[in-house]
Each structure stands twice: as structure tokens, then as C-alpha cells.
Symmetry: C2
Subunit: 340 residues, 2 copies
């Protein structure tokens, strides 16, 4: 197998000629190797099992490229795997494209390619194709990665805001805010020291477990990435025209994350996550769903967050233990730019 020895990425690596071929055959192909990719054709050929397919794409521009608990490459794979997962699908195939800044060290690229290969293995998805473009130094920020996932929808999955009913329970998969705060602290613009790691991870096993256990009683799911849990719930509230009440003290937030949020004046409900999701479950199956999640590795800290009500307003309301309540808004502005 040829190796890729060039020290830095140059414009020629994006030109489609000899240098591109060296990069593809020396770095990408050995790392991601699978039959579809290895054909190095213009498109990967896939023979899908019968059923509905899910397709999703995300671009990743996180800064810094590496941070406690993960890196842009790992995020790019997990983020797309999770968009499939919360759509009720298990991943079948993924593509990855790169926009590289000329001058980027090949080591930095190799690190991310290795992280992607490892994340893809963990999620059980082959990276079947991709593309590389190079722009001049100063026209990107190291690298941007775009991934697209193709998944097979679980036969029992039937999701959408139109399925939401009064009394449905809101389940959250685990503690929130870790990804966003890990990125903030990694930027080192702040004088806060805390041991916070990104929660990036694939969610497809947890969501598959939910469908296997309670099937169509899962009414709606979404991963709480940019904009955090607050934005996800507000979008649902609007799309389904329901009021969502959550219990302030049942929001799981690690102490160090809560402390960092308080110092920065951020509501953990607005902070991005990369390994947590919200599921809306029919009331009579909610206990079974929560039990299934808690007994699955990575779901131990799943919890009930609140429930679906009708009017008088389609808003998200947080109730405190002392009887107070507040409106939880969508994220406005961008307090944590380039979080993913």
C-alpha cells in the first residue's frame, strides 16, 4: 500500500491530478478501505436492503480542530450517524469531503482521517466515497469536513411532529452542555480551568434499542446539537403546536459544566451537545422506553425531562422545584460560534 509522504497540503493536492491521486491512495484509501471505496470510481455503488432510506448531510467547521474528548473528524462521523439515528435509521454508508487550507500539515490531516476511520468503525458504517479540495492559505481554517450518511429506516420508525400527543413524555439521553463547554475552554480565550470533555459519540445503538423496545410509541426524536436542548424543544413546540413543560431540576448537568456556564452567563439548555438526544414517547410506553435506554451502555443517565401539554401557548416552559416557571427561548445570536 503506498503511503503519503508529503509534509504539507499544497494546492496541487486538490487539482485532481497526480498529487490528488497520491493523497487519495496513500492516505484516505488505506484508512477507510472497503470494497466500494477501493473501486475509486465517481460514485459508490450500494445494494440497499429493502426499506425506506434516510439521507442527511452536515458540514463541520469546529475550532479548534482537536479538543478534549474529540476532534473535527470524529465529530463529522458521529454527527451524521446521529442525524440518521434520530431519524430512526441505522447507517449503511457515508461519504466525506474535505476543504483543506494550503499549508495544513499532513499530520493534522492524518490525525483526522484516523479519527474518522475509528469513529466509522465504532458506528459500523463504511466511508464509501469523498472528495478533496484545497484553497489558498488564509481561505479556510485548517480544514472543513462535510459528511453525508445514508441509512436504513427501522421498520417500526414513524416519526414526526404530527405524531405528538398531549401527555407524551420527554426523555433526554444524558447530561447536557459538555460539548459546548469543552470547545469554549479548549479555545483558551477564557481563564477557566475545568476537566470537561466533549460528549461526541454515536447514538445509533441507543435509538435502535428504543425502536426495538417500544416501536411506534417513539413519536419524535432529535439530537440536541447547535442551539442545545432549548432550541430543539422550541422547534418541536412550534412544529407540533404544543406546550412543552420541563422540570428545571431534572435537567442533568455535570457540576463542572454548570459552573462554567454560570461563569459565562450561559443557560446549559442553550449549549450544544454532540452525544445527546431528545425522544418524545407515548405516555403508556414511556417507563419502558426509559428502562430500555438506561439498560443500554451509554444510556445509564437517561431521564424524564418533562411532558407535552396543550395550550394556552405553544412554548417551552421550565418549572422550578419552588413552583416558579420561566419561558425557555430558542437560541438567539451565537454565543458559541463554530461549535461543530
Amino acid at each position: 500500500m503506498p503511503d503519503f509522504f508529503d509534509k504539507r497540503i499544497a494546492m496541487a493536492h486538490g487539482a485532481g491530478g497526480e498529487a490528488t491521486r497520491r493523497l487519495v491512495e496513500g492516505l484516505f484509501q488505506p484508512a477507510f478501505s472497503n470494497p466500494q471505496l477501493d473501486s475509486l470510481s465517481d460514485a459508490a455503488i450500494i445494494d440497499p436492503p429493502a426499506g425506506r432510506l434516510a439521507m442527511t448531510s452536515d458540514s463541520f467547521v469546529v475550532q479548534p480542530l482537536r479538543f478534549p474528548g474529540g476532534s473535527i473528524g470524529e465529530l463529522a462521523v458521529n454527527g451524521t450517524v446521529n442525524d440518521l439515528a434520530v431519524s430512526g435509521a441505522r447507517p449503511l454508508a457515508m461519504t466525506a469531503t474535505f476543504v483543506l487550507e494550503a499549508g495544513l500539515s499532513s499530520e493534522a490531516l492524518r490525525w483526522e482521517v484516523t479519527a474518522m476511520a475509528e469513529a466509522a468503525r465504532r458506528a459500523g458504517v463504511p466511508i464509501v466515497g469523498g472528495d478533496t479540495k484545497v484553497v489558498e492559505h488564509g481561505k479556510a481554517d485548517g480544514m472543513y469536513i462535510t459528511t453525508t450518511g445514508l441509512g436504513l429506516v427501522h421498520p417500526h420508525a414513524d416519526l414526526g411532529p404530527q405524531r405528538i400527543q398531549t401527555g407524551d413524555r420527554v426523555i433526554l439521553s444524558g447530561p447536557i452542555g459538555n460539548h459546548g463547554m469543552a470547545i469554549m475552554l479548549a479555545r483558551a480565550e477564557l481563564e477557566i480551568e475545568a476537566d470537561i470533555e466533549s460528549d461526541t459519540r454515536p447514538l445509533c445503538e441507543l435509538t435502535a434499542r428504543l425502536f426495538d423496545t417500544v416501536g411506534a410509541a417513539v413519536h419524535w426524536m432529535r439530537d440536541a446539537t447547535r442551539g442545545g436542548v432549548a432550541t430543539v424543544l422550541n422547534e418541536l413546540s412550534r412544529d407540533a403546536d404544543v406546550r412543552i413543560t420541563i422540570s428545571e431540576e431534572s435537567v442533568p448537568v455535570d457540576d463542572c459544566v454548570r459552573g462554567a456556564c454560570e461563569l459565562l452567563g450561559l443557560d446549559p439548555l442553550h449549549v450544544a451537545n454532540e452525544g445527546q438526544f431528545i425522544a418524545i414517547i407515548a405516555a403508556d410506553q414511556a417507563e419502558a422506553a426509559l428502562a430500555a435506554m438506561r439498560s443500554t451502555p451509554g444510556g445509564e443517565r437517561a431521564c424524564f425531562l418533562g411532558e407535552i401539554e396543550r395550550g394556552p401557548m405553544s412554548r417551552v416552559i421550565a418549572r422550578s422545584a419552588f413552583g416558579g416557571q420561566r419561558i425557555v427561548d430558542m437560541l438567539i445570536g451565537d454565543p458559541l460560534p463554530r461549535i461543530c
Copy 2:
């Protein structure tokens, strides 16, 4: 339908909150509207017809964003449609993701979104999903677009370098070099004036016509984008371990393109195209294939370029009318950076 009134793109448009929603619902959704996209879920759900699928992704970083004959948005749609086409597939669905530079005028984005919608309509493919990220001013170059296409492979398509046989004919779909030279001249760094337009267009009808007419006699296809016809033929020569001889005078090049190439010292065989492809056809079906292409709109200038031979060397050889011959190499370096 809400409209998008913000004058310029700001970081908040990539934050996933209220501003992102305004951009998506005010600009992307009205332009691309279709049932899968309109659900605004994490993934588009697709019910594919039975058969093999093709999946392909490309990132686009062309500079300038608009040029004679096209723009980055049109290129992003056609480029991916064409990667499906030369894989023997007709497009079923496409996703599009954007990395936008903060400060970009909303008008520039609206122009590209409109161009994409129009190109997608022309190719008959719905844009079913996407993503938007925003990076600080100076961390991108206006915008980068990534598209992924999912296509249904023609039942008669059976393509690959292993299918190449001695005597196969090389067909080229039309004149070459227009895209690359249009971009070079649009950059206005050169003092050359010429009326050259990019050849960007969807190729799916031309390729479908080939399969309908000669079916499995199509042994291999590729669009001659980055690196041009020379790079495509060199890759085939290597992958199939064959010698490819082309006739120098049968290479169709428009006069103004040839003139611009001569001034710049470029071989038109190395210049990128966005609307031309190479097909390798079994000898006994080659005339029928060429006739089918020539009778299809957009294929009138298709021609025989050369043929497949065996050894002594797996190279690409160009023969002149006077009996001379030269080795045609792959593109080395990057004389025309950011061509797509």
C-alpha cells in the same frame, strides 16, 4: 411563505437558532421546496425504487463564484448529477451544505440558491436536505458548497476498468477546455479577451441514452473534470493496464479555447470540463453508441477520440496526422487552481 430580509450573512445564521431558522425557512426552503425538504427533519426519508444505488459527494470552491456560463451553485448541482450519470445512475435525491463567510451579501447567496434550484429542476432531482455553517470573515472565500447525490443505477449498467477490452473505442461527448478557460479568463488576471463560456450542464440524459441504446456495451465512463481528458485517460490506462491511443486531430477544441490555451502554454487535454465525459464502448457497438449520442440534444459534437490497445506500455499516446506520437501525461501540479 416567510422571506429572508437580512442583508448580510452573520455568524448567528450558522448557530442553529432563530437566525438559522429564518435563513432556512426564508431562503432555502422556498427555493428548493419538495415534500422531503419541507419536513425540515434531521434526515430526508426516501422510498427508493428497487435496484442498485449510486452515492457521490463533491465540494465546490470555484473562484470567482460567478463566471461566464455558470456559477458555483449551478456547478455544485451539475457536478454531482454528472458523477451519478457517468456511474450509470439517474439522480433520485441530492443534499447541499454551505460553508458561508460572515459578511457575505445575502444577494450573493440568493443568486446561488436560485441557480441551484434551476439546475436541480433541469436535472430532475429534488434537493432534499442540507446544512449551513458560517465562519468568520477571512476564513472562507464567499462560500463553499458541498453536494451529495443519490441515484438509481440503470439496470444495464455494468462499468469498471475490468470490463475494458482491446479494440474498445473511446468516445468523447463534445469540445473540451471551455470550463477551465472560462474560469481563467473570468479571474481577469490575464489580458486575454475571448468569448468563452463554461460548459457546465447535466449529462444524465446523454448517458441514459447510451445505456438505453447499447446497454452493457458501455464498459467505462468518467466525466473529464479536474485534470481534464488527459488525467481521466491516464487513470483508466493505469487501472485497466491498457494502452490508449488517441488521434491528436480528432480532439474537438473550439478555436477561442485553443487560442487561449496556446497563449497560456496549456494543453487543452489537461484543462477541466464540467459538461463532457469519456465513454469506452465495445468495438461492435461503438458506431451505434456514437449515433445515439449525436442524435441526443447536447451530444451533436460527440466523436471518436481513440481506442484501447494492449502494451507494450500502459500509457496514453497521442498520434498526429503526420505520423508523430507523444505521451500524454496526467496533470502535474495545479496550473488552474480552484476550477470547481
